[in-house]
């Protein structure tokens, strides 16, 4: 097996499988201008959110970390920061983090420019300049061991734990054996499996940290007096055969493969270790995917049983059907059918090899269905109310 793929080598040593030009609004009030600017420059990527002001404590820090981390993602070639001017986190704070990753950054401020139309005009001019600069970058051989893969499950059914997640787990093991990093998250969907995680730490302390992360998540749910059933598992999960959160978690766990957990990181935090890493995120896919993107993920393997079309603003998402009826019914959204394993037409081993081959094609530039269809979901985890 080759140990390189064809990608973008970044100044900080990270590697990208894409070379996006990103428009990053610092705050909800800057999103309309940001969207208009992105629409004016074909090929640019825009994100939108409802946050960035009147937030407190860890909630505010999470918002900053998620936005800045998205801009600093290795798949991003350049960033235009769109600011209002009076918001909680100044544009320069974001720009500083992104420049430290070696990327060109420009800033346009709505208040500084004098309103919507002037900001759109100036922003479009700056973005076109960034797009020209990034267009000059060429793919070259890059080490596979610098890739950060992320595993996700969404719209799960009981096949998720039988086909999709186990085959993703086999690919996780292949990636770790190649020296790369694999991120798993969705803490809620580890409730009921945390005792198994605790045994998997590279050290006892890491295993205990993983276990505590899950138990703290459960405590939060209980503190709200909430019965998870009906929210997680969702009605679609339940229709698909999943009865309890424990059952879902026992199936979800497989997508991390079998290697020891090397690190446990907070939401939107970049891992420092290679190998299998856990990130503390909600089970909600929009927030989970955005958190891992802010943590630097290059490429995602995403299993679904009920059918979610979700993509990610800055990283390709390979969508894996857990069952063949879904792969046929929502064919335009599915990149790989793991349902063939349950049909008996392919073995787990054969499917894992084929999926790994697809991963490398996508890393080299092949577009996923979510990219072709324009799915660019983005969402930030909340930890406190807005004030």
């Amino acid at each position: 097996m080759s140990n390189t793929f064809s990608g973008y080598l970044r100044p900080d040593g990270s590697v990208g499988v894409r070379n996006h030009v990103l428009v990053l609004p610092t705050v909800a009030c800057a999103c309309h201008v940001a969207a208009q600017v992105s629409a004016a420059v074909p090929g640019s990527v825009g994100i939108s959110h409802q946050h960035g002001c009147a937030q407190i404590g860890e909630d505010a820090r999470v918002t900053f970390r998620t936005l800045a981390g998205t801009g600093a993602n290795p798949n991003v070639g350049a960033v235009l920061v769109v600011a209002l001017g009076c918001e909680q986190w100044a544009a320069e704070a974001f720009a500083g983090t992104i420049r430290a990753a070696g990327k060109p950054v420009e800033i346009v401020g709505i208040q500084a420019e004098g309103g919507t139309s002037r900001a759109i005009a100036r922003g479009t001019e700056l973005l076109r300049g960034l797009a020209e600069r990034t267009a000059a970058a060429k793919r070259q051989p890059c080490p596979i061991d610098r890739l950060i893969f992320a595993m996700e499950c969404g719209g799960s059914d009981s096949f998720s734990g039988l086909t999709g997640n186990p085959v993703v787990g086999e690919v996780a093991d292949i990636a770790v054996a190649a020296g790369a990093t694999v991120m798993m998250s969705e803490t809620t969907e580890l409730i009921g499996a945390e005792h198994l995680l605790a045994e998997r730490g590279a050290t006892p302390e890491i295993g205990e940290r993983a276990r505590r992360m899950v138990l703290d998540c459960e405590k939060s749910c209980l503190a709200y007096g909430a019965d998870l059933t009906g929210s997680n598992p969702s009605p679609g999960n339940i229709e698909g055969g999943l009865t309890t959160i424990e059952e879902k978690s026992l199936g979800c766990l497989h997508k991390g493969g079998s290697t020891p957990i090397q690190e446990v990181v907070a939401y939107a935090q970049r891992p420092t270790r290679r190998g299998l890493v856990l990130m503390d995120t909600p089970g909600c896919d929009v927030e989970s995917v955005a958190g891992k993107a802010a943590g630097g993920m290059n490429l995602m393997l995403f299993t679904t049983g009920r059918g979610t079309p979700m993509g990610c603003a800055v990283a390709p998402v390979i969508k894996i059907a857990t069952n063949s009826p879904l792969a046929r019914h929502m064919a335009e959204n599915i990149d790989f059918n793991a349902g063939a394993i349950a049909d008996g037409t392919t073995t787990m081993r054969e499917a894992a090899q084929a999926l790994w081959a697809l991963v490398l094609e996508v890393a080299d530039g092949a577009l996923t269905r979510a990219e072709i269809l324009g799915h660019r979901e983005f969402g930030i985890r909340r930890a406190a109310p807005t004030l």
Binding site: G161, G192, K219, G225, P233, G241, T244, I245, G344
Partner: protein, 108 residues
């Protein structure tokens, strides 16, 4: 991990499991083989749903993947559908967990 047999529309993931999963919709009355155990289905089982491989007492753990995944709320006979109507979560997903925590008098 158990292997899939194309002709077999059921899978029991772990030999310790007291449930098996239907890989295709199965009719009530159908006779299925779960390993060496013959089970006659008492209910229609939708695709992806579970049925009991052996009797499960009220309050007993439902075992899947060789691990507890909840508790039966009523006695469940072999071949019966096992799902939200007769199983609750023993964790944050279940009303039993909530009452266990609030009975202690303090929320953490």
């Amino acid at each position: 991990m158990a292997t899939f047999q194309p002709a077999q529309p059921v899978i029991q993931i772990d030999p310790r499991d007291n449930v098996a999963t239907a890989l295709a919709p199965l009719d009530a009355g159908a006779a299925v083989a779960v390993g060496a155990v013959a089970v006659t289905l008492k209910d229609a089982i939708p695709r992806g749903h579970k049925f009991a491989v052996r009797a499960i007492a009220a309050g007993e753990a439902v075992i899947k993947y060789g691990q507890p995944m909840g508790r039966a709320t009523v006695p469940i006979a072999p071949g019966q559908h096992v799902h939200v109507h007769n199983v609750v979560s023993a964790r944050a997903g279940g009303p039993a967990a909530n009452s266990r925590h609030s009975a202690g008098g303090s929320r953490q």
